[in-house]
């Protein structure tokens, strides 16, 4: 099977979810003998990034550069990648399910008359085909979906579905091949303006590798700086369950859960969070979950990898002290 991974970068910086997609591709390839994985790096002035990706165990890196691909536009990416796909004839095109991919990938697939299975959380390789698993009804059920019809097949994987740090390194660097694409300015119907940032500092919790989340156990807004300090020392961001944001103690963009953000950081530290199902669905994909709660029966302990039944007002200062000494 020929697999093509579309990696994502912005302003020369990787979207880390790209590594997860690379791993997914490598795993699927391993299950289907004779497979080949290539990765696309798309943008302008991204040769350095292409060389970075080449260190992984891949058959080839396809460097797609064009002046008009400097800033992301849905038309630019869709038109350029359509040419890449037509040229390279992959069976499977894998993408990370990012906001950007949600924007251009359906357009790309449709332009080739193909469908797309989006936001998958896993796959199952069978003899004749690969079955993709995606969630339905807010994660209550998982559906097996497979393609009928001829390739190329488009699939995107949910953030956190694979472990980006387990991508296999290659014995030697993969060759980087430049692919030229045709793009005319008239084809690009949108003009990207400055990136929008919320009033104060923008926080995209989905990008933070470490999250320190507080729940009702924090008791009062005056105690929040304690957790904030701990988060900073750990190199993470502050997040919260719904009651905290409902009270206005933290803004809504810090909320994790079914009516907030879904995250999958490397480490999620839940402080004084009971673990109601509405919160858990927003963070259960986290790599490692550590929970501290006074109540030993709190449901959070069912999803936690490490749990402490204790008082967060004893433990936060204790953790802070240890980290400050380092």
């Amino acid at each position: 099977m020929k697999i093509l991974v579309i990696t994502e970068q912005r302003d020369g910086k990787w979207n880390p979810v790209s590594s997860e997609t690379l791993l997914a591709a490598q795993q699927i390839a391993a299950a289907q003998p004779g497979s080949r994985v290539a990765a696309v790096v798309i943008g302008k002035g991204v040769h350095g990034l292409a060389e970075e990706v080449a260190a992984n165990q891949l058959a080839e890196i396809l460097l797609v550069e064009h002046d008009l691909l400097d800033k992301y536009t849905p038309d630019g990416y869709a038109i350029a990648l359509k040419q890449v796909v037509t040229q390279t004839q992959p069976d499977l095109v894998l993408l990370p399910h990012t906001y950007q991919v949600r924007d251009y990938a359906p357009k790309l697939a449709a332009s080739l008359g193909k469908g797309m299975i989006a936001d998958c959380v896993g796959y199952r390789a069978e003899k004749e085909r690969v079955i993709f698993v995606r969630q339905m009804f807010q994660g209550k059920t998982a559906a097996d979906v497979s393609f009928t019809g001829a390739p190329p097949w488009f699939v995107s994987f949910q953030a956190g579905a694979f472990r980006g740090d387990q991508v296999a390194r290659g014995a030697s660097a993969a060759p980087v091949t430049a692919i030229s694409v045709n793009l005319q300015a008239e084809q690009i119907r949108t003009k990207p303006l400055d990136l929008f940032r919320e009033a104060k500092q923008a926080v995209d919790l989905t990008q933070a590798p470490i999250l320190v989340a507080i729940g009702r156990g924090i008791k009062a807004p005056e105690n929040i700086p304690l957790a904030e300090k701990l988060a900073k020392l750990m190199g993470g961001e502050l997040a919260a369950s719904r009651p905290i944001c409902d009270e206005g103690w933290l803004p809504m963009d810090r909320q994790i859960g079914s009516s907030g953000q879904t995250v999958a950081p490397k480490l999620y530290l839940a402080l004084g969070i009971s673990g109601a199902i509405q919160h858990v669905v927003g963070m259960k994909g986290s790599r490692t979950i550590v929970a501290i709660n006074k109540d030993q029966n709190a449901p959070i302990f069912e999803v936690a990898d490490y749990g402490i039944v204790g008082d967060i007002f004893e433990l936060i200062p204790a953790l802070t002290e240890v980290l400050e000494k380092k």
Binding site: F137, Q138, D246, S259, A276, I277, Q278, N297
Partner: protein, 552 residues
């Protein structure tokens, strides 16, 4: 702020796409076609029939047990046995009396609880299917639109204004603000289900109440998937007794459906005396009884929901007709609480309303007098005879289970008259006993997460969602009453009777405050009904919001 609203003119506007509203629309479309085909004048059109449904799709807000008496469906859709989504015919009926540890099977299943010839159904699936037939008949059903206000013209009802969409939590218009439409209609049919929001205000403002006020019960339901062989499809069990005490009206149900599914729930009359009673907790306890536990053990919760049921019966039926307006189905309390059945009456009343409407449109007369024919039709149909035979049933339980059963026995042999006819009854919210020095509140129920669940976990399984940034749709007239009076007199029963954890009294510096988590709301209307001071007004939130009662 005066808003300009777009205006649409209809012939007939039906508010609510449940069994009553959809039966009305379907029958109306047929009668109109027949009228036109036989050369009737003036010619009528199905294009002038609009149905409004506040749910995301038809069936999203429909919930019931349910065991359907198919007699009305047979009239509406004669080949229903082949085409309707009936789950399974009832093949075994039993009634039980529960004590804390035992289940006593009644040697004879009481006649009202005998269900031979009936079907176990999902009312949500039934509504979806009916909705399909209605749309095929050329009637427009507008989902995600609620009836927010009635339009009055003199003494008559002239239509409905739908809800504004796109207001933020402070009521200010957002970028996507769209004012509600002014839908004018010659005849507006209120088919909003129990405690309809438009119906409630109309009945109060125009003094349309029957001899007794409308009274309600709350039904808390879960749908489970159990290991194969645990339950026989078609098995219907009703229970009395535990966990309700003898001063309370209500009982439980367990129905075996196909594909290893079980529908179960607990109904509690919303006229109990203890303001700290928690219907959701009582249902969770019901599941721990060995009789129920042995069915559910090893199974999995599929869905949760709650809804109120109008149980007042014959004497609680309000005036159902006004100039330009009819009230049908649960909104008109057309439900037999002894048999626990209302879907058949909802469908039949929809059909009778359709007949009344066609006559009125033909005659060009939509006055109250002309539309009063609807009530005559109801009285003369089997709805009338069935409800008259149980006309004093619910009221007879005011003084407890045993007296109620005694009264019922006498009513049974006297065609419904019983010892007192008509038996009067007060509204449910007037039946609380004040706390008066009762001890501290007991701790809240947590559940074990396997067989029993806390409220929040259950709410998650109702699929309920609302646009978060919108005004709160639960209007509390004066929260000072909550914080100063209710807290002492009744202990804030909203925290207990709401099956969706919408209401919370939270500690704050210097006291307490009412916190309303409106996005959990499952649209059951219990708060509007059971609040002791009647200061809670439930209004429809932005259309599309609410539960997703697939399969319920």
């Amino acid at each position: 702020m005066s808003i300009e609203r777009e205006r649409l003119d209809a012939d007939v506007l039906i508010v609510g796409a449940g069994p009553a509203g959809l039966a009305c629309a379907l029958h109306l479309a047929r009668l109109i076609r027949q009228h036109n085909e036989s050369g009737g004048k003036p010619e009528l059109s199905t294009e002038g029939i609009y149905v409004l449904e506040k749910g995301r799709d038809i069936g999203a807000h429909q919930l019931s047990g349910a065991v359907l008496d198919p007699r009305a469906l047979a009239e509406l859709v004669p080949d229903f046995a082949k085409t309707a989504p009936l789950d399974t015919p009832v093949n075994d009926d039993a009634a039980y009396f529960l004590t804390a540890s035992r289940a006593w099977k009644l040697p004879i299943t009481p006649p009202p609880l005998r269900n031979h010839g009936n079907y176990i159904v999902s009312v949500s699936k039934l509504a979806k299917w009916l909705g399909g037939l209605v749309e095929q008949a050329g009637v427009n059903v507008f989902t995600q639109f609620a009836g927010a206000q009635l339009i009055h013209e003199g003494e008559a009802v002239a239509g409905v204004i739908t809800e504004d969409k796109g207001r933020d939590k402070d009521g200010k218009p957002k970028d996507n603000f769209t004012p509600g439409y002014e839908l004018r209609a010659k005849i507006t049919v209120l088919a909003e289900g129990p405690r309809g929001s438009l119906t409630k205000h109309l009945v109060a403002d125009r003094h349309l109440d029957g001899l007794n006020p409308q009274v309600y019960s709350i039904g808390v339901k879960e749908l489970w998937e159990v290991p194969p062989g645990r339950i026989t499809p078609g098995w219907v069990a009703h229970t009395l007794g535990w966990p309700l005490n003898s001063s309370m009206y209500g009982g439980g149900w367990v129905y075996g459906m196909r594909e290893n599914r079980v529908s179960l729930g607990l109904v509690t009359g919303l006229e109990y005396h203890n303001p700290r009673f928690d219907p959701h907790e009582a249902f969770q306890l019901f599941k721990t009884h060995p009789f129920v536990r042995r069915i559910l053990e090893g199974g999995k919760l599929v869905r949760y929901g709650a809804k109120t049921i109008p149980v007042g019966g014959w004497y609680s039926i309000p005036r159902t007709y006004l100039g330009g307006c009819l009230i049908i189905g649960d909104s008109a309390s057309l439900l037999n609480s002894q048999r626990l059945k209302g879907i058949h009456m909802a469908i039949k009343s929809g059909m009778l309303a359709a007949e009344t409407i066609v006559d009125a449109l033909r005659a060009g007369d939509t006055s109250g007098t002309k539309l009063s024919a609807f009530r005559h039709k109801v009285d003369e149909s089997w709805i009338g005879s069935e409800l008259r035979s149980v006309r004093n049933f619910h009221q007879s339980f005011q003084h407890g289970l045993w007296l109620g059963l005694a009264h019922t026995a006498v009513q049974f042999v006297t065609g419904g008259r019983g010892l007192v006819d008509p038996m009067r009854m007060k509204a449910g919210h007037e039946q609380y006993h004040m706390l008066d020095g009762a001890g501290p509140a007991p701790p809240r129920f947590q559940g074990d997460g396997v067989l029993t669940f806390d409220r929040l976990t259950d709410v998650y399984h109702s699929g309920t969602r609302h646009e978060e940034d919108q005004p709160c749709h639960l209007h509390v007239l004066d929260t000072n009453i909550c914080v100063n009076r209710c807290i002492i007199e009744y202990g804030n029963p909203c925290q207990y009777f709401c099956p969706a954890a919408v209401y919370e009294m939270v500690e704050e510096k210097g006291g307490r405050r009412l916190k309303i988590n409106f996005s959990n709301c499952v649209h059951c209307k219990t708060c509007d009904i059971a609040d002791p001071y009647q200061i809670i007004d439930w209004v429809p939130p932005e259309g599309g919001g609410g539960p997703n009662y697939e399969g319920m």
